[in-house]
Symmetry: C2
Subunit: 237 residues, 2 copies
């Protein structure tokens, strides 16, 4: 449930924190842990469930993973998405959430035992892992902020701008994003319904903020306005 990309969701945090993936990813490579089996997982497959013993740490290569919880009555909440380059599964021994693919996904699977051995050898390695968890906590805090205080417009803008900034950080254009997940995943992530998400996309399009030819490709037409919305500055304030 540690998603390295997560911190970029919070604009302020994205600026303040050093690139966390920068720190730990090369360390994984140096340890030779990269050579662990690469798994190819179909869409909608479960990697683990809440309460499971942690067995592997995964590095997403391609595709996308969704981290979620489910209430007793079936209501589902998406806590985070993991994209290529992200590390998921760090943290305590018990998984705090479910993880399932939302696309055909390729993952490197590092057994926890191997990971723990690496930590025992090199304390700095464990320290970096802890920083990832702390960043995930900061991201979760930001998620609470988004969900409890932002309007539907602001929530979707916040989601899109997080993806935009991620692109930027990866050397891609921040002017457009690809949505690997379905509307329902976005809705469950933002604490809205699919209908509201769909309507908000339409509203953005009609207002000239975005353009969409396919429903999973968004081109930004007014980044400044979207960023203001995402920060909770816009609308009626």
């Amino acid at each position: 449930m540690i998603n390295i990309a997560a911190h970029s969701f919070h604009d302020a945090t994205a600026i303040k924190l050093p690139q966390p993936a920068m720190a730990i990813a090369p360390m994984l490579a140096a340890k030779g842990l990269h050579s662990s089996a690469i798994r190819k997982v179909a869409c909608n497959e479960t990697l683990w469930c809440e309460g499971d013993e942690r067995s592997h740490i995964f590095v997403v290569r391609t595709g996308a993973v969704c981290l979620s919880r489910t209430l007793p009555n079936g209501r589902r909440i998406v806590l985070d998405f993991a994209y290529p380059g992200d590390i998921i599964g760090l943290g305590a021994d018990t998984q705090p959430c479910d993880a399932h693919t939302v696309q055909l996904t390729r993952l490197e699977a590092i057994p926890v035992a191997a990971f723990k051995r690496a930590v025992a050898e090199d304390p700095e390695f464990g320290r970096q892992a802890s920083i990832q968890v702390a960043n995930a906590l900061s991201a979760a805090y930001q998620h609470v902020v988004v969900i409890s205080k932002l309007s539907a417009n602001e929530r979707l803008a916040s989601f899109l701008m997080a993806l935009s900034r991620r692109n930027e950080a990866h050397g891609l254009s921040p002017m457009s994003v690809l949505l690997p997940m379905k509307r329902l995943d976005i809705a469950d992530f933002l604490g809205l319904t699919i209908e509201t998400v769909s309507r908000t996309f339409t509203r953005f399009r009609d207002a000239g903020l975005i353009a969409m030819d396919q429903h999973n490709v968004v081109v930004f037409r007014d980044l400044a306005k979207l960023r203001a919305l995402a920060a909770g500055e816009g609308e009626h304030d």
Copy 2:
């Protein structure tokens, strides 16, 4: 921003996890870190702000601390409360939230340098600290669930039941709780307004779920119903 009590907010987690405070608090004592200065802080004082360099780790002795974030336009979100026995301030070097007292509070202040020295001496110590952060992450996930999927009734029930379970875990009666914070703090924690919180208390009282003689003392009259509500099982499901 690591609040040891936080995990108890999530019922399932509260059962699954060992008492985290059990693990680290005696270790702090054993290291002699307890001898650090005890501070007496008035109500409404700020301990640190988001983005601050982490300078101390605090153990709450009496009173209560509120962890929050504030949006650019002034909207505030309460992320957690820390009560006597809780440790706050663990995590990364940069504070992910503000911390301020909501009561006259006594705190033990352990300088970060002393804490780091202790970790360097004893890796197990650092491992326990990491577990605290992971538990805080799990609690934050639960907070997201509460805020994004529960009704006002369910949210307040969830808040009250977390306090009830905390009492229980501390050997006190789970049948009543004391609310050290103001209605506004509860509202900002639950993503509601003070009016809605007030009305929900009234609704609970009228429905025979609780009794209240003062507005900061709640006696539970139907714990089963409240717990069902808190778990998101109740209402119209």
